[in-house]
Structure formats: structure tokens, C-alpha cells
């Protein structure tokens, strides 16, 4: 049993505010991701929860009990570092056993526990090898095994997949879930790649510039980003944002930009400012087969097609603006090709340009406004 509560945690390192008034709660036995770009404060936050770093202000609670001043070794937290941090002179067995040796367990108990976690991580064949003789994926497994051997209540993982090549990551995403489902415990992991969050986490804490921007179930935050930054961070690829101005013409209300003229008369009561940002997810674009009502069309020129795994990310130029579009299959368009793109109006998000806060979705005026 362990819930984690972080309350108003702040930390300044060398005059830089790394964390500012950070507060959130992590549910017991949940898989929660702290997602944010490099430098957002994720590692510092994990270190403060683990107790290896102290906050300048704020409190940490485990199961409602304050642990802010409890030393790391008494917190029953296990941490896996991004660099894996294995002892190079010890073999795999020695590395996994090291936390128990420090606790002076007898060697028979240690052996039993090492074999158990080695079985769970599927690394029984590697026990006699040195870290230098392991692949990146194998080192990762050893680092996790060493964290798991302690039966901690809370496991903290700092970018557990970042240093692995893409085929190993593909397998490890489901592997990590299996391992922790079998093992139990509360898992909090830092990620900068949203794919890791989508694939593994139930809950997400979006962090940016040392502040928490939004928390919640992954798909809820994905569907209802509160700000443009959340729309860019929890997305694959980031949400497109187009500036548009509110204009009145012939009794109708329009959001207008160089390429778009969107009738927003039905949102008259909600749209009261002059400038907005239209948010369109890259996967909302499609190649239209016919012209339909309720759809926005854009003519664009291909800049480049990127193929990632089995997906295509096509960057296009639309009236001097760069847009990112996404297709869930392999499709290559050559630079310079002209394309017509379509977006269903219901898929368009509207944000306030000055505050960057979510205002409404186009099709469901006011529902979330």
C-alpha cells in the first residue's frame, strides 16, 4: 500500500527555479507517468520523492504520513536511474544482490530472492556476466531487477526506455507493465517521449518549466488539454496551432487566418476575444475522397515525409505555415508534391491566444468551455 502526495514542492538549483510549487497525488498501485520535455524538472522531482535530494519548500506524504524529513533509506522507495548505474566490477548476480547485501541478509535468502527477480525479468542466463558484456536492453533489465529485489512500496523510474534502441523499446513497454503487474507496487516514471506515457501509464502528470500543468487519466488529458502546451506535450506528434482572428461579416462570426475562414457563429457566446489559436492534431488530417459539409479543406505542399516505425509524419507548407500531419501507415509523399488535406470541424480545438488556455472544441460549443 502506498499513495504518494507531493505538496507545494519547490527547488532552486544554482539560481534556476527547477521546481515551483509542485503538487499532485499518485494513486496506490497505479502506473503514473511524469511527462515533460528535457529540463522540465522530472529527475529532480523523482530524487526529492526518493529522499536523495531535499526540497527548498513543500512536503512529501506516503500513505498520508509525512516523510519530508525521513532519510532515503527509511522510505522504502526503489529508484532506477536513466543511466542504469550498475557496478562495473560486479557480475549481474552481484549487482542484483547488492541492496540485500547492504541490509545484511543471509546468503541463502539473498540467492532465493535473486533467482525470483531474475525469473521475473527473464535474465537467469545472464547472472554470471559483467555489465560490460550486456546489451542496453539487458542492462536495463538488471537495473530494474536490482530495484525490484527490495520489495519497495514505491518504484521510481527515470526515463526507463530512453537509452534503448527502438526494437528493444517496443518490447520493453509491454514487458515493464507485465513485470510491475506481477510485482505490485506504486510506479512513477519520468518520460520525455509521449509514446512511453501512452503505452504504459494509466495516469499522467504533465510538467513544464518546473510547474505541473495538468494531471489526470492519460486519455482524459489527451482529449481535453487545458492549455496549448499540454496539447503539444501529450501528443504524437505535437498539436498544430494556427493563429486566427475573430471577424464579423454579414451577421455571421468567423475565425479567420490567411488559409482558413471558419464560421463560428454558433460559438458567439463563448468567443469574446479578438485572437485565438486553432488546435488541430496531426492525426485529425486526412486525404478527402469527396467534398463534405462539416469539413475544413486545406491546400498544402509537402516539405518532407518522415517514416517512424509503421507510421508516416508528413510535414507540409500551408500558406507559409508549417503543419504536421500523421498517418497510421507507411505513405511517402515527395517534397514539393501538392496535397489537399481535410479536417472534420468537430476535431478542431480553440484556445485563447493570449492565455493559451483551452476555450472550446468547435463542434461541441460550450461543453467543456
Amino acid at each position: 500500500m502506498a499513495t504518494v502526495r507531493v505538496e507545494n514542492v519547490s527547488k532552486t538549483i544554482q539560481d534556476r527555479k527547477v521546481l515551483e510549487e509542485v503538487s499532485f497525488e499518485v494513486k496506490d498501485r497505479s502506473f503514473t507517468s511524469i511527462l515533460g520535455p528535457v529540463g522540465a524538472g522530472k529527475t529532480t522531482l523523482l530524487r526529492i520523492i526518493a529522499g536523495v535530494e531535499t526540497a527548498d519548500g513543500g512536503s512529501i506524504f506516503f500513505d498520508g504520513r509525512e516523510v519530508t524529513n525521513v532519510p532515503a533509506r527509511e522510505r522504502n522507495v526503489a529508484m532506477v536511474y536513466q543511466s542504469f548505474a550498475l557496478y562495473p566490477h560486479l557480475d549481474v548476480y552481484g549487482n542484483i544482490a547488492s541492496p540485500l547485501k547492504i541490509r545484511k541478509l543471509n546468503s541463502r535468502d539473498i540467492e532465493k530472492r535473486v533467482m525470483e527477480v531474475a525469473e521475473l525479468l527473464r535474465i537467469k542466463d545472464l547472472l554470471k556476466r559483467k555489465p560490460a558484456e550486456l546489451s542496453g536492453g539487458e542492462r536495463q533489465r538488471v537495473a530494474i531487477a536490482r530495484a525490484l529485489i527490495r520489495d519497495a512500496d514505491i518504484y521510481l523510474l527515470d526515463e526507463p526506455l530512453t537509452n534503448l534502441d527502438y526494437k528493444i523499446r517496443e518490447g520493453m513497454r509491454s514487458e515493464l507493465r507485465r513485470i510491475f503487474q506481477e510485482k505490485g507496487g506504486t510506479i512513477l516514471f519520468a518520460a520525455s517521449d509521449p509514446l512511453d506515457t501512452f503505452a504504459m501509464a494509466q495516469y499522467v502528470i504533465i510538467i513544464h518549466g518546473g510547474r505541473v500543468l495538468q494531471t489526470g487519466r492519460v486519455h482524459e488529458v489527451y482529449d481535453h488539454p487545458r492549455t496549448t502546451i499540454v496539447g503539444k506535450i501529450l501528443a504524437r506528434p505535437p498539436m498544430n496551432l494556427l493563429e486566427a482572428e475573430l471577424k464579423e461579416s454579414n451577421g455571421k462570426l468567423f475565425l479567420e487566418s490567411s488559409e482558413i475562414n471558419l464560421d463560428v457563429s454558433h460559438l458567439r457566446n463563448i468567443l469574446t476575444k479578438r485572437e485565438y489559436l486553432l488546435g488541430i492534431r496531426p492525426d485529425s488530417f486526412f486525404f478527402p475522397e469527396s467534398l463534405d459539409r462539416g469539413t475544413l479543406y486545406l491546400d498544402a505542399t509537402v516539405i518532407v515525409t518522415e517514416i517512424e516505425g509503421s507510421e508516416s509524419i508528413i510535414h507540409v507548407d500551408c500558406g507559409g505555415r508549417r503543419l504536421i500531419t500523421y498517418y497510421p501507415y507507411v505513405k511517402r509523399l515527395d517534397p514539393g508534391e501538392h496535397v489537399r488535406l481535410a479536417v472534420r470541424l468537430g476535431d478542431i480545438y480553440i484556445f485563447d491566444k493570449s492565455t493559451e488556455e483551452f476555450v472550446t472544441k468547435y463542434g461541441r460549443g460550450g461543453e467543456y468551455g
Partner: protein, 357 residues
């Protein structure tokens, strides 16, 4: 520009290390080619043989039909760009002008060529700067520019973007693609990154264990992988590969049976045990119950892996496991879903790995 042809290339390093077992391939004039494979597959060795940095133990190298096997990179007139950008200790302009000055080109002509290349690579504003002031992406653009400026017979790039930050990598990829289209260079691009090869190249040579195992367009490599290694290595997730056997003109996989009388003649010479391959996006998913039969199969969802716009379902049932991509939301672990495999997308492989169908 030149057509590059390799014939019966073998290469053995001291200590009897067989780096290239056999390579015969033609890179057509004015095409963008990639050598793709995991580390140790022999791609760097082959690149060096093409460039003239290494003389093969056996086999011949031809540029436009001329045997250049014993010739140096200079004699072959190849331009090279490496993983770590090589820039000279002089201004960006002088870096770009250097290969032309060495050749004694008139000043006016040099100026014109440098301006052209600088424009292509968006270096116009940086010409008077020292390359040390540029970021890694900028330095690599200078290195590419210096290679491009002198109309080489072949342009060889060895993992040129692997040390560049992701933001500039994207710019460089699109620049390189544009430049190749404009200048119609014969390019050979060496990479371990399948995304990069699929993104850039018109033709990909996939290498494994010292051999070229497929040379094809990116679409073909993805859709028609020559063997199970490529089916696994290319694409996220890997292609589903399911054990199957052929009995009386039927393909049995798990508890399923497919009538394959149309393929029977093709499969029969290879025995009765195969792999049945299908990509995760070529399986339809329905949350609504469907009549069970040959086409729709009920399966249990063991795990839902989010991909952002899509979900990857780990399914189990009928003695099979497979991974399926869907845009359907609201499927939970433990749910039963109905799936239908697209027959036209099924690939059959021998147990030794090679694709038959």
C-alpha cells in the same frame, strides 16, 4: 554522376573475419540509395569499398561500367560525409570554396557555385562565420555543402545525422532529400536507423551477416519483406509471425484453418511448416460481436498499449497471440473483440526465414 555496380564483392579482414560474404548490386545513376542494417552487418565495410577507402578481397567495383576497383576515392571522384562533421579551420565560405580552389576553378565561378550551395543548405547568412560557432546540425550542413559543391560521381554519407539533435536532424533530412531531387546525385546513405532509410531513400539495401538480403523500394521493403528478419526489424510493431502448418491444402494456425488451395502449389515444395505473417494494421477490429467463421475470430484482449492516435492491442485466443492496431477507443483489458485478417496482406515465410508468398 555515375551508376555504381558491385560484382561478387567479398571482404575478409585480418584474423579471418568475413565482413562481406557476397555482394552484387547496382545503384542506378541519380538515385538515392540506403545501406541499412544492424551493427556488424557489413554496411560500413561495403561503403568503404564503394568509396575506394578499402580494396575488397574479391570482386569488382564499376562506375558507369568502368572498373575502378583499384582506384582511390579521389580518382573515383566520390564525395563523403561522415558521422562527425568535418569542418576546416576557416570561414564557412572558405570551407565551401575549398574543393573548388584546389581544382583551380576561376574565382567568379567559385563564387557562383558557393552561393548556390549555400542557398540550398540555408547557409547564406553564415558564410562569413567560423563553423565553430555553428551547432552540430550547422556544421554538418557545411560538410554536406563542401561535398556537394564539386559535382562528384557519387555522394556517400555514413550515418551523417546520428549525432545531430532531433530538431536540426529533421531539417537536414528534408534538405538532403530536396538537394538529391534537385541535383540528381547518385547517393549511398549508410544507416542503422530504419526510420531514416524509409524516410530518405528511393532504394534500400538491407544487409545482414555480410550479405544484402533485400534491395527494394521502402514501400516494398515494408509490405513485402524478403524474410522474417526484415519483417521483424522494419516497422513498429514487428510483423505478427505465427507458426502454421499445411495439411490437405489447408493452413492451420492455432485452432484456425484457412483454405489456401490457391497457394498450395507454391508452398508444397518447401514442406508443411511455415510462418504466417500479417502486419498489425492489416487486421480489422470490431467491438461488436460478429458471426464466427473463417473471417471473424473472437479474441481476448490481454493488454492495450496506447500509441497516441491509435492503440495496439495484445490479443490471445484460438491458440494464437497477435498484436493489432486500431483507432477504436474504449477497448479494455479482458474484453473480447472480433478480428478479421486481410487475406491480401498475408505473407507466408519458410521456417528458415525466406518469404514465399
Amino acid at each position: 554522376m555515375a551508376e555504381i555496380r558491385l560484382e561478387g564483392i567479398k571482404h575478409i579482414y585480418p584474423g579471418n573475419v568475413e565482413a562481406i560474404k557476397e555482394a552484387t548490386i547496382t545503384f542506378k545513376d541519380q538515385t538515392f540509395n540506403s545501406l541499412l542494417g544492424p551493427s556488424g552487418c557489413g554496411k560500413t565495410t561495403l561503403m568503404k569499398i564503394i568509396a575506394g577507402l578499402l580494396k575488397p578481397t574479391d570482386g569488382r567495383v564499376y562506375f558507369d561500367g568502368q572498373d575502378v576497383t583499384g582506384k582511390t576515392p579521389q580518382e573515383r571522384n566520390v564525395a563523403m560525409v561522415f558521422q562527425f562533421p568535418v569542418v576546416y579551420d576557416m570561414s564557412v565560405y572558405d570551407n565551401l570554396a575549398f574543393p573548388l580552389k584546389v581544382r583551380g576553378m576561376p574565382k567568379q565561378e567559385i563564387k557562383r557555385r558557393v552561393a548556390e550551395v549555400a542557398k540550398l543548405l540555408e547557409l547564406e547568412g553564415q558564410l562569413s562565420l567560423h563553423p565553430g560557432r555553428l551547432d552540430s546540425g550547422g556544421k554538418q550542413r557545411v560538410a554536406i555543402g563542401r561535398a556537394l559543391v564539386r559535382t562528384p560521381n557519387a555522394f556517400i554519407l555514413d550515418e551523417p545525422f546520428s549525432n545531430i539533435d532531433p530538431e536540426s536532424r529533421l531539417l537536414l533530412r528534408s534538405k538532403l532529400k530536396e538537394i538529391q531531387k534537385d541535383l540528381k546525385q547518385t547517393m549511398v546513405f549508410v544507416t542503422h536507423d530504419q526510420a531514416e532509410a524509409l524516410t530518405l531513400a528511393d532504394w534500400i539495401a538491407v544487409m545482414k551477416d555480410g550479405r544484402i538480403i533485400q534491395f527494394d523500394t521502402p514501400e516494398q521493403i515494408y509490405e513485402e519483406p524478403a524474410d522474417t528478419f526484415i519483417a521483424y526489424f522494419i516497422g513498429m510493431p514487428a510483423m505478427n509471425l505465427i507458426d502454421c502448418s499445411m495439411v490437405d491444402g489447408k493452413l492451420l494456425l492455432g485452432e484456425l484453418s484457412y483454405d489456401i488451395s490457391d497457394m498450395r502449389n507454391m508452398l508444397e515444395p518447401y514442406g508443411d511448416e511455415f510462418y504466417f505473417g500479417i502486419r498489425a494494421e492489416h487486421i480489422e477490429v470490431s467491438r461488436e460481436p460478429k458471426p464466427e467463421g473463417q473471417d471473424w475470430i473472437p479474441m481476448m484482449c490481454e493488454m492495450v498499449e496506447g500509441l497516441g492516435p491509435l492503440s495496439l492491442l495484445h490479443l490471445k485466443g484460438k491458440g494464437l497471440t497477435m498484436r493489432v492496431k486500431t483507432r477504436e477507443t474504449g477497448i479494455s483489458e479482458g474484453d473480447t473483440v472480433w478480428v478479421k485478417i486481410r487475406r491480401d496482406k498475408v505473407r507466408i515465410f519458410k521456417r528458415t526465414g525466406e518469404r514465399i508468398v
